[in-house]
């Protein structure tokens, strides 16, 4: 109980310091007076009485100090004192303080921002309850695009029944195209993008509505009343955050569709499943409607039962796979999915690919922090030289070494604390900006923010940095020989030399770190340039695409196929003729899918009479196009394009890609291995297909991957899934957008005000993650270079100041200005050369580590290394030149007289 009371009293004493000190003073005074009185009574002289009283009392300050230690929180007192002192010293040297805080703010800010990115994408669980139970179920990668990454309705039903490890399985329709909704509220229809999901989608993910309700099984039935769930963003943007939106019905795609709910802001379909895409609404997928016969259309997402491990789930899926049929009515398709049902954690699917890049980014900012700390150490050492005497004096007055190191570390903490605060605001700006980069195809980017974890990380690295840059100068200073410091009267003496050696080592390590960063950034930049250089098989500049709304009556029940095609052909001809007459338009054409976006495959046609090999996993991606599309995309064609004469009743024609043509040629004997004019046949349909032309391979799935196989069908013979109009022109897409949209609206008043998207933006989106990482690493490398050059400048400049007298003597003895300059620059270059050698060796190791991130660039790329060395050399020269110039201007007489 006594201890408890004592603790409380100690805290009270800590805060009531002044009053208690006053009382103590009064008490001690009374004590001495009482003692003097008694001594006087014993017959001492007044002086002797006072002297004896003081002797018997012992040291007055010591007694008071003891009493304070016994009553209050002495450690806290010391700490506060240190802080007060630190603020005072730093305030006295604002130049140093500002530079130090800025350096730290840059280093720490970069670290906080990158940590927030890493935390959002890699570390934090997905924004779903028990997210670790969620798995993405997909076949291993194959060459036929999304059709080989999805499953059929029958397969879904079988898997759901056969598998035992899953609480439930859901999925979504993988082939929705952008702007597939057209919201009609009077005026021009408004385009929007929705995804069809299986009705249990939100139950499986565990998403709760912000308003209204989400789907029930009934909403997914054939013939159910159309309903829609809005994303938070679309609800705010398009419906002005109407609080009474639930239950209202709107004309969407020509049908009165009821809004049943609004999703919470925390659920962004695009952010998780389709990075870089903006998904406005979610609609229920009618599993048993027309899509049933369209084959592979559904992606699988499963939620594991509690306690089921991933290997168990994998075995379970492998066991269920052989029972799954592509189409239950076609028994020979049963077993198609053998070995092609593999669950992986959803988190891995979403962000697994980025792990390596993010780790590299993290390492890069770590290096920035190191460089910043080394710089700070250097600055502090320079200060230490100036403050050596102050600390020697304090030591001589009885301050213990711990007390002095503590004082210095407190100063470091104050600096890094201020740096962290400023860095936090820098990071906040950067992070808010990044979170709104909707066009960067990184998952979960929109949920990027500075959260508790980021704040914790900030505190951690602030303390870490303070220890890192404060400890060396602190120990150095406190460990110094007192006498020596007091005597050390300037240049040439031991302490000064020792400091300089440490400072040189620090600069060398700084240069080495900057070298590693520069090499890394250089390699990534080189890779990025190579990526931009890739021949995509089409010409993305000066072309743009817009989604076209048309009604060929294909969705009307009982439509006659020939009528539909005739109607569609007429509409398309009209649109193409109208748009191509717009001034400045060079070529127009339509395709239902565009490269680097969605895709699908329809099986693999083979040369007529050749039996296709069994278990062929790859198939060409299908594009249904109009005449002129190939030219509008800027692809090269061998043979002929489709014409309007390739009608429903004439010979069926296709164009195929060069690599697919080569593949097919391997199975037969075509003259010159040329596919043009040859007949191929699809396994399922008995129709012969005449190869009219061979088109260069198009990079349809990724810029960096290999160009795959494509097959083009004419829209006059096959069914497109909504058309994209591609316009090639001398004008910029922005200049053309209005006239094209006007023309489309003239022909069809229902044409929504869809985006007129430059084809280049498709490429940009596909390369955006690489651009994102490259830019960040390059920015960090630039920052590292700047800090390193500051470090070199600081050390050389300082040594010039220290050697003013020496240089003065040299010049008095006849050294010329250029000799002095050479001497100083030589020293800078010497330091940097050592740094570059060490850095290059380290870079070789690091480059091997990031080899997987490089594209068409060797980790030992000579150009990058040479460029880095040249750059560092040039910077070192510059950083050395300024002090060298100053040194050469020293007036020998003045220098010798000073000090």
């Amino acid at each position: 109980m006594g201890a408890m009371r004592e603790a409380v009293n100690r805290v009270r004493s800590f805060f009531g310091k002044q009053q208690r000190d006053a009382e103590l003073d009064a008490e001690v005074t009374a004590h001495l007076e009482l003692a003097v009185e008694e001594n006087l009574r014993q017959g001492m002289t007044p002086e002797e009485a006072r002297r004896q009283a003081l002797i018997r009392f012992g040291g007055v300050p010591q007694a008071k100090e003891q009493q304070r230690a016994a009553r209050g929180l002495i450690q806290l007192d010391i700490l506060l004192q240190d802080f007060k002192y630190a603020f005072r010293t730093l305030g006295r040297d604002p130049g140093f303080t500002v530079v130090a805080v800025l350096i730290l703010a840059l280093g720490i800010g970069a670290n906080i921002a990158v940590f927030s990115v890493v935390n959002t994408i890699l570390l934090r669980p997905l924004p779903f309850p028990n997210a670790q139970q969620l798995v993405w179920i997909a076949p291993p990668p194959a060459k036929c695009g999304m059709s080989c990454a999805t499953y059929s309705t029958d397969a879904y039903d079988t898997f759901r029944v056969q598998s035992r490890s899953y609480q439930d399985v859901t999925g979504y329709f993988a082939f929705s195209s952008p702007d597939n909704l057209s919201l009609n509220r009077g005026g021009a229809p408004i385009p929007a993008t929705s995804i069809d999901v299986i009705a249990n989608f939100f139950q499986v993910l565990g998403v709760q509505p912000a308003m209204g309700r989400l789907f029930t099984a009934d909403d997914g039935r054939s013939g159910a009343a159309p309903v829609i769930v809005l994303s938070d963003a679309w609800w705010r943007r398009q419906f002005a955050a109407d609080p009474a939106i639930v239950g209202k019905a709107f004309d969407i795609n020509g049908r009165q569709t009821t809004v049943i709910g609004v999703l919470p802001a925390s659920f962004d379909f695009g952010a998780v499943f389709s990075p870089g895409a903006k998904i406005d609404a979610i609609t229920p997928l009618d599993l048993y409607g027309p899509p049933r016969d369209e084959g592979n259309i559904i992606t699988f997402i499963g939620r594991l039962k509690p306690g089921i491990s991933l290997p168990q789930a994998r075995d379970d899926a492998a066991a269920a796979a052989p029972h799954m049929c592509w189409n239950n009515k076609q028994p020979r398709t049963c077993g198609n999915y053998k070995d092609r049902v593999v669950p992986v954690p959803l988190k891995d699917y979403v962000s697994g690919r980025l792990r390596r890049s993010l780790v590299v980014l993290w390492a890069a900012v770590g290096m920035i922090l190191l460089i910043a700390c080394v710089n700070l150490s250097n600055l502090l050492l320079a200060r230490a030289a100036a403050r050596g005497k102050e600390f020697a004096m304090r030591g001589a007055l009885g301050a213990s070494r711990t007390r002095i190191v503590g004082q210095l570390l407190t100063e470091s903490l104050v600096l890094s604390g201020a740096g962290a605060l400023l860095g936090l605001s820098l990071a906040w700006v950067l992070v808010s900006w990044l979170a709104h980069q909707g066009s960067v195809a990184l998952p979960l980017l929109s949920s990027l923010r500075i959260d508790g974890a980021s704040l914790g990380w900030t505190v951690l690295i602030a303390i870490f940095a303070a220890l890192l840059f404060g400890l060396v100068p602190g120990l150095r200073m406190a460990g110094g020989n007192l006498q020596e410091s007091l005597k050390d009267s300037g240049p040439g003496s031991g302490q000064g030399r020792k400091h300089e050696r440490i400072r040189s080592i620090l600069v060398v390590s700084e240069v080495a770190l900057a070298c590693v960063l520069l090499v890394g950034a250089g390699l990534l930049l080189h890779s990025f340039l190579k990526v931009l250089d890739v021949d995509l098989g089409f010409e993305p500049t000066r072309a743009a695409a817009v989604k076209v709304d048309y009604d060929d009556g294909g969705n009307t029940p009982g439509a006659v196929k020939a009528d539909v095609i005739a109607r569609r052909t007429a509409i398309f001809q009209q649109i193409l003729a109208r748009v191509s007459s717009i001034p400045g338009v060079e070529a127009v054409g339509m395709s239902d899918f565009l490269p680097l976006g969605q895709n699908r495959s329809w099986g693999t046609p083979f040369p007529k009479g050749v039996q296709p090999p069994r278990n062929l996993l790859s198939g060409p991606l299908v594009y249904v196009v109009t005449p002129g599309y190939i030219r509008a995309m800027g692809s090269r064609l061998h043979g002929r394009d489709f014409t309007w004469d390739d009608g429903p009743n004439s010979q069926r024609v296709v164009m195929i890609s060069a690599s697919f043509a080569r593949f097919l040629a391997g199975f037969t004997h075509w003259p010159n291995n040329d596919a043009v004019g040859q007949i191929i046949a699809s396994g399922s349909s008995s129709n012969d297909l005449l190869v009219a032309g061979v088109v260069d391979d198009v990079h349809e799935e990724s810029v960096e991957g290999e160009g795959g196989w494509q097959i083009y069908y004419p829209s006059t013979q096959a069914y497109p899934e909504g058309e994209q109009l591609v316009v090639r022109s001398k004008l910029t897409p922005a200049a053309l957008a209005n006239s094209v949209l006007l023309a489309l609206r003239e022909l069809n008043p229902k044409q929504p005000a869809a985006d007129f998207r430059p084809i280049q933006s498709l490429v940009d989106r596909a390369t955006s993650p690489r651009r994102f990482f490259m830019l960040l690493v390059a920015a960090f490398a630039a920052l590292g270079l700047l800090l390193a050059s500051l470090g070199i400048y600081g050390v050389i400049s300082y040594s010039v100041t220290q050697r003013t007298q020496e240089i003065g003597i040299r010049m008095a003895l006849g050294a010329t200005q250029s000799q002095v300059q050479r001497n100083v620059i030589g020293r800078a270059l010497r330091l940097v050369s050592i740094g570059i050698v060490a850095g290059s060796v380290a870079s070789l190791l690091v480059a091997r580590g990031i080899a997987a991130l490089l594209f068409a660039t060797a980790p030992t790329d000579l150009l990058t290394f040479a460029g880095t060395i040249l750059l560092l050399g040039a910077v070192a020269f510059l950083a050395g030149y300024l002090p060298a110039r100053r040194a050469s201007r020293i007036n020998p007489m003045a220098a010798l007289r000073s000090n």
Partner: protein, 116 residues
């Protein structure tokens, strides 16, 4: 004079202060210090100032209380008196001290044959 004075063991000052207050009633700091010196026959090496650390510690533990008062010759001084908790603590400390000192005595009285 200083050579044969006793150094104070850690914590022994607290017990002396408590005992002094228990027997003498309220006293100021100087009075306590003088009293201890007198009782010890001036054999204790006591810087009188150290008593104030002990006093504030005992006070914060609730074993003594303090109040400003006036001395016989009209001087303002802070008077300390022992509390009920302080008396309890003194009894405990005194018992502990006696046990300890008797053990130390016995150990020191040990002869080479191991007899007591």
């Amino acid at each position: 004079m200083a050579e044969n004075k006793l150094d104070l063991l850690q914590g022994t000052l607290d017990i002396m202060v408590l005992q002094t207050l228990a027997t003498m009633g309220a006293l100021h700091g100087y009075g306590i210090a003088r009293r201890i010196e007198q009782v010890s026959g001036d054999t204790i090496l006591l810087n009188q100032g150290t008593i104030y650390a002990s006093l504030v510690r005992l006070q914060q533990r609730g074993w003594i209380s303090a109040a400003w008062g006036t001395s016989d010759n009209n001087r303002k001084a802070k008077y300390y008196s022992i509390t009920k908790a302080g008396r309890g603590q003194l009894a405990k400390d005194a018992a502990y001290w006696r046990r300890l000192s008797s053990v130390v005595d016995r150990v020191l009285a040990m002869t080479a044959e191991g007899e007591f």
